[in-house]
Symmetry: C2
């Protein structure tokens, strides 16, 4: 099984297989998507035009037995930011591509502008078909996934775009399907890459790995021993582990409460952006927190037994030990409402809109998943509709009705709600628009936690917490030591996180391994042995990550970005954030140091 690239040209509906160029030998995931985009895409091109390309690449370890390593990267020039983009997610497709020996799928070209047909790409062992599937258009994604699994009973991995992407909406995410249900909740959500799918007139890439085989490590012994060491470290870490207290009750943050364990923590810290970043504390935080989801799941399970689909400690892809995902059930029927409700989503659709009703937040998330929207961008966009006076702050039912407008192609409100925070904010006369490079900020207010503001400002991705999650140091602490969140010298911290993240995103690892590898030297060693054992050669994680950042930064500069784009919106510098009444006071010089020091 030799590594291969599948290149699909939509201009003439052709496909071909190519070898992986030698220069990409150790590249996978984000390293591969960003390298291919940097090499093959004109940085000044129209992201929705024929010169942009969509690159899909599983992480290096996808399909192996390495723990929590099945994530899939999607890259291209972002319609939302105008810069290079990589977004990744769990789901089924990463591992399946790994088992088919496919390193990357490159989708290029564009059908004539009067084309009305829609297509899907069926990827099988040594085989690719570009199929006309106009019947998949205009469907909600819950139904689409059911339909595809009916059409392909092998339960393939599916990624693609929903109606938002089909209409080229700027906050359209790339969905992926869950392991065992038809929830499209595995989103490579950010940057509008779903609209690039739409521009190529592709609804789904369907990956059936029948006949595929597990990728083999070059140094099997090193790989296996590393893997074991790493699994052990993950299992005993209080954030990623599966621990029980003295009474046998589970504790450990992610498995029990999911990422949404952060809701109360951030609100306590005064850093939970509330009502469009006008406060750092939300009085309704507890009601939409991970603890509330946990309680709901238990309560419905108690009432309805096996009829309830609700769960926590659920993996986002096969082989994930961290299992931070969940399924939120409808309280009355126990049926699947959404899977999963993440912290960022619950924050964006909840606290940031002043909504404290868990079922409303869950319903908003379900609608985003069904339409194919990035929840972070959607929540911030709803907040623009609130601040712009179209609906009331905190009005969950109004927000739900607004999102439902998206099903109506002729509804201007429906189009605008899918167009992202910057466009909606500008349209509605809002001046407090929390974006960097056109992308909305996630769930940590940079006035209260400066390092994440440095990441938001400087990452080539646009405001993105996952691009350099300094929160790990500034709130949760590393080896028991918390870096002062108010300290304003954070360029080095942010750069370290950005580079490490770029490496992690390339391996296919989940970002949450960071807690373990930062805290536990054995965890780090085990993780690196797994990677190096698989490759049969030693790579340096820092240098590897830095190289990716350099390429991404260079792409953006060629696209016309300058250091002026590495800044937060004006109000973060001028409007003090309650309750601590702090502003963002990191200097431009400190921000510019990040990439000057690269």
């Amino acid at each position: 099984m030799s590594p291969k690239i599948l290149r699909i040209n939509m201009s003439d509906l052709s496909s071909k297989w190519e070898d992986l160029p030698n220069e990409y030998e150790t590249f996978a995931g984000r390293a591969l998507t960003s390298s291919i985009v940097a090499k093959e895409v004109d940085p000044t091109c129209d992201p929705l035009g024929k010169f942009n390309k969509l690159v899909i690449a599983p992480g290096l370890l996808a399909g192996t037995t390495a723990p929590s390593s099945g994530r899939l990267s999607v890259g291209g020039k972002s319609p939302l930011t105008g810069g290079i983009k990589e977004a990744n997610a769990g789901g089924l497709t990463g591992g399946k591509l790994g088992r088919l020996g496919i390193n990357a799928i490159i989708i290029e070209g564009k059908l004539p502008s009067d084309t009305t047909d829609w297509y899907s790409i069926l990827v099988q062992k040594d085989k690719c078909e570009i199929k006309k599937t106009s019947n998949y258009a205009n469907m909600g994604l819950y139904n689409l996934i059911k339909k595809v699994w009916e059409d392909y009973p092998s339960k393939p991995g599916i990624i693609g775009c929903g109606i938002a992407g089909q209409r080229l909406s700027l906050c359209a995410g790339v969905f992926g399907n869950n392991i065992e249900n038809s929830d499209p909740g595995r989103f490579a959500g950010r940057g509008g890459l779903g609209a690039v799918f739409g521009s190529k007139r592709i609804i789904a890439v369907i990956t059936d790995d029948s006949g595929g085989e597990m990728p083999q490590a070059k140094d099997k012994e090193k790989f296996d021993s590393g893997r074991k060491k790493f699994v052990e470290a993950l299992r005993k870490h209080p954030i990623t582990g599966d621990l029980k207290d003295a009474d046998g009750n589970p504790f450990g943050g992610l498995k029990n409460y999911g990422t949404n364990v952060l809701m109360n923590i951030l609100s306590e810290a005064g850093a939970l952006p509330t009502r469009n970043f006008s406060s750092g504390r939300f009085e309704g935080a507890a009601k939409i927190s991970g603890e509330a989801v946990h309680e709901l799941v238990d309560k419905v399970k108690e009432k309805l037994g096996d009829k309830s689909t609700g769960t926590y400690g659920h993996p986002c892809h096969p082989g994930c030990l961290i299992a931070c995902s969940n399924v939120v059930p409808y309280e009355d029927s126990g049926e699947h409402h959404v899977g999963c409700l993440e912290y960022e989503s619950a924050w964006a659709l909840g606290a940031n809109c002043g909504i404290d009703v868990l079922t409303d937040v869950t319903e908003l998330n379900r609608l985003c998943n069904d339409i194919g929207l990035d929840t972070i961008e959607a929540g911030n966009t709803i907040a623009m509709f609130m601040e712009g006076g179209i609906i009331d702050l905190g009005d969950g039912p109004a927000a739900i009705n607004l999102l439902k407008e998206a099903y109506n192609e002729k509804s201007v409100a429906g189009r605008l709600i899918c167009s992202g925070t910057l466009v909606a904010g500008k349209t509605l006369g809002v001046t407090r628009i929390p974006v960097v490079k056109g992308q909305a900020q996630p769930a940590y207010d940079p006035r209260a936690i400066k390092g994440i503001g440095v990441t938001y400002s400087t990452t080539p991705m646009g405001a993105d917490h996952t691009a350099g999650y300094t929160i790990a140091a500034e709130i949760l602490g590393i080896k028991g030591k918390v870096t002062d969140p108010r300290s304003i010298e954070k360029s080095a911290l942010s750069l370290t996180f950005q580079a490490t993240t770029a490496f992690i995103d390339s391996m296919g690892y989940c970002l949450f391994i960071a807690f373990c590898i930062l805290d536990d030297d054995n965890g780090f060693a085990g993780m690196m042995d797994t990677v190096n054992g698989f490759l049969g050669k030693d790579i340096d994680a820092g240098a590897y990550g830095t190289n990716i950042l350099k390429q991404e930064r260079s792409f953006n500069m060629k696209a016309g970005f300058t250091e002026k784009d590495d800044r937060l919106a004006e109000f973060f510098y001028n409007e003090p954030l309650p309750p601590h009444n702090v502003v963002f006071d990191v200097s431009d010089e400190e921000l510019d140091k990040v990439y000057k020091n690269l």
Copy 2:
């Protein structure tokens, strides 16, 4: 009477008078607005935030007897482009400010964000009042002007913003009132400066020049002789003159047909952007042309006599000899429908939307005037709604209903139609968005006429024909010689026009003097003698203009623009324009030459 600057600070509702700094001695109009903005405004600031300033400056010759020189410049950082902006218009205010000896009004600061009051600025001889006029809010501008003239029976000059500006909409223009009627049709329309008025919570600047006096030339003799020479040249030029043929019938383009004399000419040339820039020829051009307006005016006058208000050959400001303006009457009643219907407006709201019904186009223009919208931006935005599938191409009544949505503050479609071409295009999934630096292109397709494409691309103003009107050379010809519109070496031509325009915009002259001064050496000499006689010193028009461009360019670079922003949208390079099937093939190097050679 010493020259003075009126500085208004909206943060504390204070005002003060300042001397004109020596460095600005010869500066007026655009030279003054751009210099003050470049010196006082942080290029990276939020255009709708407290750090932006609005600068209002009459041309140098405002209020004098120099012909066609009463235009008023408005400047600031543009909410639409994010760059420096100057827009100018005729109307009453320029001359009145000149007679009050006011060189510039600078409006800075911002009231607290929870302010709900609206204000107007009353400017009188040596006096300024900031008046609370919340009763002027949410009014159509036709009614507003009537109301202000009732409140101030001296019939003052009025400039300000309509409901679009009050809601911070990105294509809100700055209106000015007509000489003798309540039409708000004298728009400094481009770049969304009306929204800057709105952000300062100012609806109107009301200028009453009672007690003012005509500014005196330093070298009266030179001024007078220059003026006479220039008047003579303007009168005998076939474009700007008031000529009769052998039968005593008037001919001469502008007086008879207004700027809209260009509609048929550009369509014939295959350069009239039609249906969102998908063709260069519009089969309905004649029906919405200046000739059609002329015919309508004559017909209604014949039918209704003095009951008809329709007219052509109407001046946009007192003392204009060119008089290219018009009043389009309602056909049945003879009442004032709109004044005036310009070529750019008839094109944007007509040909570019595929609408060929003159009354529909006139009604769309009236709605833009009433709401306070730039017609070029509004027409292009309507075209986005058509291409995006919300209304049908060519459907005038649907376009009218769409614009009427703007009166309803809660209507998302109403907000979007006021937000400009880029934002609407992105919202509606349109990929053919004809903007440069976020501003929509005017009525000359750059694929068929390359020089104007060089101007669109490179001017610091965003796509703007008035910034460097190479059409004069490429279509109409200079001294009988037409520069080949298809030639792709146009950097020098565009730069010459850009610099000359910057000079003309500073003097208060109408851009249309260009035809006369380019064709007739006596005209040029007379014009320069008028200027130099007024100043009592000789200035060099080219150096003067170049200096302005340098400051504007420098502001934009500091704001984060790069040469990558000096490009047309991708489709102009790739999609051939019928009927000549040409693309925009000016090289990036040639475009970059314009400002490298500055």
